[in-house]
Symmetry: C2
Subunit: 216 residues, 2 copies
DNA sequence: CCGACCATGTAATATGTTACATGATTGT
DNA sequence: ACAATCATGTAACATATTACATGGTCGG
């Protein structure tokens, strides 16, 4: 399971609790894998049962129990094995594109909303990635710095940093690309509306007559 | 379910069998949703039970039975409703990036294989998308042309074509971007190996001494 | 007559989401 | 004391993958 590998990979950069992982995955948009806590806790148990991680119970305050997991040598070996296999590419599942290509009924308001949502989504993502990349580049990311400090050679230190720069900067540019695309689509829409004199129609759906091919 | 919407959307461009859908989804890389036949057939039954599609049994040759589905008005309405909602963005699940950031153990061969796999994957995808876009732009795609022909107004015809141009050309550029990224990563690797005099080491894993932080 | 492809299904398993459930800590 | 957040779990349901299963058609 890739979720297992995401967990192991993250624990390979330092110990952490299930809750830490949850936060990485749902709050940190900067992360390449997402999962709900209901999926994470059971996996941690199983990884421990398989000997890939070990845990230690910690009590916060008087009663709050917290379990901190640490990767084992077997776990480290599993990460190494998994990362040395080439990436796999699951089938595309893009509800955004699907909605776009089948939403060609002439509802211009919906199309506009579509592109604006896309733009907004990737602008947020860009911002959040930009912040992460800034932290990374200014060498302020604690877990990554730890990993660099632990590296045995200059070459390994460089690889550790470079791998992340490539990954996160690549994603940043992906986000920038999506923003650009959404803006171009919006520009097309603007032009379309101008050409079809739909500048200030407002109120009802645009193209009211032409839409009724099937009945609305 | 988005799979249902993908099926409905596709059937909204003309009737087709389950097998036709299977081919769209696994052979045609040009498609924005992927699903196995084992998932498609049961969904078709359910969509029919819900009255969103209807089917007709056709016999090919003497015995081979084939079921051709046609979207109903209720189905068309469902597509319209679904496409007018803004897109949603599921959590990222990118095993490629995950492998990259946690695969920083100094196995340069694995890193190279990683980038080459990425490059290869997106070059194939680009090619296949390019073909599709060419067919689209030269107005040779039968289903899309049918849909354009059925559109009630010039404005709707334009939207039908433009939505697909935006979607597919956008994906084409995505693929081109990934190719560019992979090439840059490979260039970094080349440079890294040059700087660390690992030009012609061959045989064993690169960086043999420095890797042994944990064992191996 | 044989291989490639057409055509459709079920079952078991794996993975992911949403809802339900509980209680502690920390800062204000 | 109250809210936000820490912290961990289970159950039900939805979705997706892999394996198992069967048989027909068509062209060479």
């Amino acid at each position: 399971m890739s979720l297992d590998n995401a967990i192991l990979g993250w624990l390979s950069t330092g110990p952490g609790s299930g809750y830490d992982l949850v936060r990485q995955m749902d709050l940190g948009l900067n992360w390449f894998w997402g999962a709900a806590h209901s999926q994470i806790y059971p996996r941690l148990k199983e990884l421990e049962a398989r000997g890939l991680i070990s845990s230690e119970q910690i009590t916060v305050g008087t009663k709050l129990e917290k379990r901190v997991y640490t990767i084992t040598d077997a776990g480290r070996e599993a990460v190494r094995k998994w990362t040395s296999e080439p990436p796999t590419y699951p089938p595309n599942r893009d509800n955004e594109r699907l909605r776009l290509i089948f939403g060609d009924h002439g509802d211009l308001k919906a199309m506009r909303r579509h592109f604006e949502t896309h733009l907004d989504h990737y602008e947020r993502r860009r911002e959040s990635l930009q912040e992460f990349v800034d932290v990374l580049t200014s060498r302020q990311h604690p877990r990554i710095e730890q990993r660099i400090a632990a590296a045995m050679s200059e070459a390994l230190k460089e690889i550790t940093l470079a791998a992340r720069e490539m990954a996160y900067r690549g994603d940043l540019r992906r986000a920038e690309f999506e923003i650009e695309w959404a803006k171009e689509c919006l520009a097309w829409l603007d032009d379309f509306e101008r050409r079809h004199d739909l500048g200030e129609t407002s109120g009802t759906d645009e193209l009211p007559a032409s839409v009724s091919a099937t009945g609305t």
